[in-house]
């Protein structure tokens, strides 16, 4: 993989991969909610009245920080604690909540735009001059492009994408990357910039938090695997490009090669599986799986939220970074030997998916369903999905796993609800599909498998391949995390 200086190692050792940490960057961007796919279409149909109704339902940064599910994502609150908080959770903000925790950090829209300016290597993001002055203290020595208000409005008339704050103030615009190429249209570029920015923030957060191993310097990152949901490229390879290297560059990583892995919401688990394989093969010492947030999904269920009198709860972009390295004697093993992928000939009904992704790999490893402490499935926050008629997605997933445990004779049928509660958790993830798909739980899983009482956590992700109209198939991946064997004596003496 390239010439000196080598970014990778080839060794005779076959190290066991571990997941050292996972971090999320949660960017509260109320001003971008109206640029989400659904709000954009609703505004086009409903005009100024719809725009005003949506804007009135936006949350403050403080409200978003205190929102209990966000604190679960940041790692300051256990998912199970949500069971004790009456719903809807936006009516129960956590007093004194901070925008940071062991699972990541949350930034406001000023912080996001400052990083967006840094991400703009093509000089396509132009900020209003007065806003640029406000932003400057957060920019360090980063350059920033500006325009006067007349210039901004003229650019927007020529298909630039406007940038607003949550209060409606116009603070800039993204220029088109080409005047005829739809793949480089300004709204597409804004989606890609948002993903790049939040992915880099998560990566920076992960690297800043990573402590050196006890025996010396931390290994450099050899490889980045991008797994966000954006299509990067121009008209000749729409979606064929890669974002991971751009994310690494923005985060200040210099040592890594990179590529993207695409599989809709299941992308991160495919990426994690491949990261484990790269480490297990000895080809890389350290791989980070990175993903930026999905701007298109902001406000996706806005109609349901407005009808229920809720604020627009889909107002955050979430980036993720997952650190995979060789066995450090502490972090949980990424059991690549228990990885399962949904194959083309496997059935797509939910119980068939659960059989393939959950039951079969556990049986192959000589484990029962009850041997897994927690299943991390589709962890969508039900407060977001239920007002839009999508139900409680994680509850349905846990019901199926528990039913399969009953079918296998592990538990009695009457024990299904208790099994689902004991091995599941309430949904808490923002509906940023690839984040909700199992990985939202990773900081808690790593904590539970090191300092906590867990022995095993199974990650189970699904991807809706059929959305692209190329197949009726769906996709799925699962993998087991297991307490490090070196931790066992410590636990026995604890």
């Amino acid at each position: 993989m390239g010439s000196a200086p080598k970014a990778t190692l080839t060794t005779d050792r076959r190290p066991r991969p571990v997941v050292r940490a996972a971090r999320f960057a949660v960017a509260h961007v109320p001003g971008l909610v109206l640029a989400g796919s659904k709000p954009r279409r609703d505004i086009a149909a409903g005009g100024a009245e719809t725009r005003a109704a949506l804007r009135r339902a936006l949350r403050s940064f403080q409200d978003a920080v205190g929102y209990p599910p966000h604190q679960v994502l940041l790692g300051t609150l256990a998912p199970e604690a949500l069971r004790e908080i009456p719903r809807p959770w936006h009516l129960r903000p956590l007093l004194g909540a901070r925008p940071a925790g062991p699972g990541g950090a949350m930034i406001d829209e000023f912080g996001f735009y400052a990083w967006l300016a840094r991400a703009d290597t093509a000089r396509l993001v132009h900020f209003a001059e007065d806003f640029a002055e406000e932003l400057r203290p957060r920019l360090g020595d980063a350059a920033i492009s500006t325009k006067g208000s007349a210039g901004l409005r003229g650019a927007i008339e020529r298909h630039a994408e406007p940038l607003h704050l949550g209060d409606g103030r116009l603070i800039g615009a993204v220029m088109p990357g080409h005047d005829q190429d739809e793949s480089l249209a300004a709204p597409v570029l804004l989606e890609n910039f948002a993903a790049k920015t939040t992915g880099a923030l998560a990566l920076r957060c992960l690297l800043d938090a990573a402590g050196d191993p006890p025996d010396g310097e931390d290994d450099p990152v050899d490889y980045l695997i991008g797994c966000g949901e954006e299509a990067v490229g121009d008209r000749y390879q729409r979606g064929g490009g890669s974002l991971a290297k751009a994310i690494g560059e923005l985060a200040g990583v210099r040592t890594a090669g990179a590529c993207d892995v695409k599989a809709f919401c299941a992308g991160p688990l495919h990426g994690l599986l491949m990261a484990g394989a790269l480490v297990a093969s000895g080809m890389c010492r350290r791989v980070v799986v990175v993903a930026g947030g999905s701007l298109a999904k902001l406000g996706m269920k806005c109609r349901g939220h407005l009808a229920a009198g809720y604020p627009l709860l889909e107002d955050v972009l979430v980036g993720a970074a997952i650190d995979v390295a060789a066995d450090d004697g502490r972090s949980p093993f990424l059991r690549v030997d228990t990885a399962a992928v949904h194959r083309i000939a496997d059935g797509t009904a939910p119980h068939q998916m659960a059989q393939v992704l959950t039951v079969a790999p556990l049986r192959a490893a000589g484990l029962a369903l009850g041997d897994v402490d927690r299943y991390a499935v589709e962890l969508h926050n039900p407060d977001i999905t239920e007002p839009a008629g999508s139900g409680d997605v994680p509850a349905r997933n846990y019901q199926i796993i528990a039913a399969l445990a009953a079918q296998a004779g592990e538990i009695a049928r009457s024990e299904i609800p208790a099994f689902a509660e004991a091995h599941g958790m309430p949904g808490f993830s923002p509906t940023q599909g690839h984040i909700a798909s199992a990985i939202a739980y990773l900081p808690h899983a790593v904590a539970g498998l090191t300092r906590g009482p867990f022995t095993r956590v199974q990650l189970v992700a699904k991807g809706s391949l059929f959305l692209g109209r190329m197949t009726e198939l769906t996709d799925g991946v699962s993998i087991l995390l297991e307490r490090n064997a070196a931790q066992e004596p410590e636990r026995r003496t604890a």
Binding site: G389, S390, G391, A436, S464, F466, L467, E472, T474
Partner: protein, 43 residues
């Protein structure tokens, strides 16, 4: 109980619920004719 015999059916499935191919199989097994089938992801 719905009698699907000779009925035209739109089968709208959901990924975490019942996918469209499963709906179609059920409907066709009792004499219905599926004229449109699609699975969607609602999260």
């Amino acid at each position: 109980m719905i009698d699907f015999k000779d009925k035209l059916v739109l089968a709208l499935g959901e990924r975490d619920g019942i996918p469209a191919p499963a709906l179609s199989t059920c409907v066709e097994s009792v004499g219905g004719r599926v004229v449109y089938a699609a699975t969607e992801c609602f999260v």
